[in-house]
Symmetry: C2
Subunit: 502 residues, 2 copies
């Protein structure tokens, strides 16, 4: 028997265990090669990845250390007696071996894999084996099974309404913060829209990061339900709502690998929407040379995949292909994006027109789901709700209900303007590069960091005129961002017929 | 700047770094999602997987902790100033993304991947992505590139001889310890045979584990070279010789995933032989219902793959398909196998005939490479060397040269015989199950643990007569092994025309 010891190391989503090389009860080397052990104590079991410790300060020879997550999951107090053995690999790994050899998996097999992943029985390398074996090819039936299996696990929200709408953008376009305009429009109309969003992982801002400039976003499931019942809409972070936790684990491996296949995207998005209790969904697929989807052909293929799975799981879907050729609005980064959003809601004269029009387009498609409206009048109704200030009022109510942020975040005090090298017309803006520069500047962790775009595609510029402004809060970040912008601004200019990157 | 701190945790092959959640210089959460950081100090850089620590006892807010392997690789003293940044993923990862989408990789692309893996620039999940993307399909040209790329990295031995022979068995058959007979026969004949072997990872004994019963096996490259020059042969553990270190890293991920594709097997084996300076190779592929290769068709496919790559890299190859229908010899586990080997070398009357014949077959094929011998007389020559005691004498010299083991390992004192339930004839023995039972009994870490087979296929048995004996040194292991044997012995009996598992 080993004594359980808590080790204050966070390795989400992996369970880790530490055994002393001089362990007196077990031979550490016996377990090391296979890396995974099963921990048993007081009738509870846990699979964990094994590391060997060489210092008594970390674990003693009669102790088993568990990292924070593993310790919490096992749920036994420090000092409890535990035994370990070589872990039997989860039976569902057989399905992955079959998948590698080119077989397709049944719904039951996929469900077994997803259940084991959600129960933290898979190590990161096993999760990777699953993701990569599916990334090579996946049938539509497998994609459907994956969606259903992921939606089954975790919370499932229920709403007392015949129509529950939601929207989702597949991402990749800086400043595309339409949710924060669409939700108040739809809520003002009276359709429930329980919107959960992510925080940015690789982008300069997620909707949750931007909304957080205005209000509290880390609400519980119960708080969210009360909020949507009262105000119809919400704009919260999905982290505490535990919809499709298997998807969260898959994402934690997909992100560092930068793998984002259409099939996994469809399953990820639709499983979360199904779990959130949505019935009607609008999906925004921006298409452009530096967007996630780069051609109409790929966009159409992706649209059909969404439609196929949506039909099968009973989600009514409207997939909209939009212009993804440049950033939307003028701000990139939480404070700057929040400013754009509020300018649109307040109908300010210099509010970015592209953000306004994109939001009206999407909100209109969502309102078209309302049987009470005349066919095709959704867009007009959305415009009316925005122009009349009803959408702004709904947003103010949502902000108050979530918890208005009383401290205001200032813009970064380190500012540099990136000039056009020559006169010309803006021919293209690289979404990727703008996102990277804004992220280096400190967004989203520094809410006031980011980029303010002063010129958009089609705008004429004089030589030396500023294309955009970089804001940063920390000197090192400022230098990283301005250095990258100096290497290449992300703008291409058209000078009397010839296009050149600046 | 953070101060470097050494953390006594072994996570081979992964570099790990620990940052305090309360780090004052960097925001831990900024780095956490992508998991990988680049550490820079005094002009040196290192990629490492990041973990977040919540206790000052592990790392302080102004420190960066590195696990043992990462600390050694960076090569800076504790307390050195280091900076960290988000790691740029290795450029070769692009090739893996291409592979996932179904493209084939060029030799340069594969070499770039292998170079990055050998330089510890890949995390385990990235290594897995490579392995799985290749496991789905791999062209013969890719397999060849992989072999060449792996052989290029690490040590490359050179021998002053026109013919340097070696043998390799793909494994899976308990007790198949032919190397320890073949090497002394070939060395006695005078052909150099620099044999390196592995320790068991999932099997009850590797050749290195068994040879260690008789002699020291962890020799350095230099000791090995001196030994082979003097005695022609050696039987050492490959761990210190550093042949194909990229392969060792791939294996450390393949093993826990239990992935063993033919292409990766060919590249792994041939890259090591090429690096070892072998020119002529005999490969043993046992074929049987519970062996690694289960049909003549798969065996022939594998043979052709070995031949194709061998021809291209200039290794002369002879692939032998052998009977893999049951364990070889009577012993399974280091002490028992060493006893079988020495009985054959000593020409003892009760020495296992199948082990003797298998060794003579393989040694004969190797001796046939000697231009000084008349065509087809290798087998006869091998028998002569064995029968005359010259092979035994060569083995004794090799043992002395490596360092004879003066302490003898006793057999396990916990013994149980597994009886036949009824009378009949042994119809089949499950190699897998026998290996698992022997391993549970404590082999190879307890040298004296294992299984002694008392009956082989074709032997008649009386009801209640012992089929085999389990030996163990530790009570818990003994119980695990006998429990598994009680569930199913691994023997199938033929009772007047009907076969039944016992």
């Amino acid at each position: 028997m080993l004594r359980l010891r808590r080790i204050a190391i966070d390795t989400y989503p992996e369970n880790i265990a530490l055994l002393s090389r001089r362990c007196t009860t077990y031979r550490a080397e016996e377990f090391q090669a296979l890396k995974k052990i099963e921990v048993v104590g007081d009738g509870r079991t846990l699979l964990a990845t094994l590391m060997i410790a060489d210092a008594e300060a970390i674990v003693g020879p009669d102790e088993l250390g568990l990292g924070e997550q593993a310790f919490r999951r096992l749920g036994l107090p420090e000092g409890s007696g535990v035994e370990i053995s070589q872990a039997t690999p989860p039976a569902s790994l057989e399905a992955i071996r079959a998948k590698i050899t080119g077989q397709t998996l049944s719904g039951d097999e996929i469900e077994a894999v997803i259940t084991d992943i959600a129960s933290h029985r898979y190590s990161p390398i096993e999760i990777t084996a699953f993701l990569i074996s599916c990334a090579s090819f996946m049938t539509t039936a497998e994609m459907l099974s994956l969606t259903e299996a992921m939606a089954k696990i975790g919370n499932r929200l229920k709403w007392d309404a015949p129509i529950v709408v939601d929207k989702h953008c597949i991402g990749g376009i800086p400043g595309n913060r339409t949710s924060m305009i669409v939700v108040p429009i739809v809520a003002a109309h009276g359709l429930p829209i329980p919107k959960t969003s992510s925080r940015a992982i690789t982008s300069p801002a997620g909707t949750a990061d931007t909304m957080e400039v205005l209000a509290k976003v880390d609400l519980s499931t119960r708080e969210m339900q009360a909020l949507v019942e009262r105000e119809k809409g919400c704009l919260i972070w999905g982290g505490h709502v535990n919809l499709s936790p298997a998807d969260d684990i898959l994402i934690s491996v997909e992100r560092p690998l930068r793998i984002d296949t259409p099939e996994q995207m469809v399953a990820s998005i639709l499983s979360k929407k199904l779990a959130a209790g949505s019935t009607h969904l609008v999906i925004d697929i921006p298409v452009g040379p530096t967007a996630k989807v780069r051609s109409r052909t790929s966009a159409t293929r992706l649209r059909k995949m969404f439609e196929y799975v949506g039909d099968k799981i009973g989600l009514t879907l409207d997939v909209v292909l939009t212009d993804g050729s440049q950033p939307i609005g003028t701000g990139v980064g939480p404070v700057l994006e929040a400013r754009d959003v509020m300018a649109v809601l307040r109908n300010e004269p210099d509010a970015p027109a592209d953000l306004r029009e994109r939001a009206l387009l999407l909100a209109g498609r969502m309102l078209d789901y309302d049987p009470a409206l005349r066919g095709g009048s959704g867009h007009e109704r959305a415009r009316e709700l925005l122009n009349s200030g009803q959408a702004l009022a709904a947003m103010e109510r949502i902000i108050d209900a979530q918890g208005r942020n009383e401290t205001s975040y200032p813009l970064g005090s380190l500012v540099e303007e990136i000039p056009a090298p020559d006169a010309g017309t803006v021919a293209a803006i690289d979404c990727h590069r703008i996102a990277r520069i804004a992220r280096l500047a400190g967004a989203p962790l520094d809410k006031g960091a980011g980029i303010e775009l002063l010129k958009k595609v089609g705008d004429p510029v004089r030589g030396g005129e500023a294309l955009y402004r970089i804001y940063a809060c920390v000197q090192a970040d400022f230098r990283f961002a301005t250095d990258l912008a100096a290497e290449g601004s992300g703008y291409a200019l058209d000078r009397s017929g010839t296009t050149a990157a600046t």
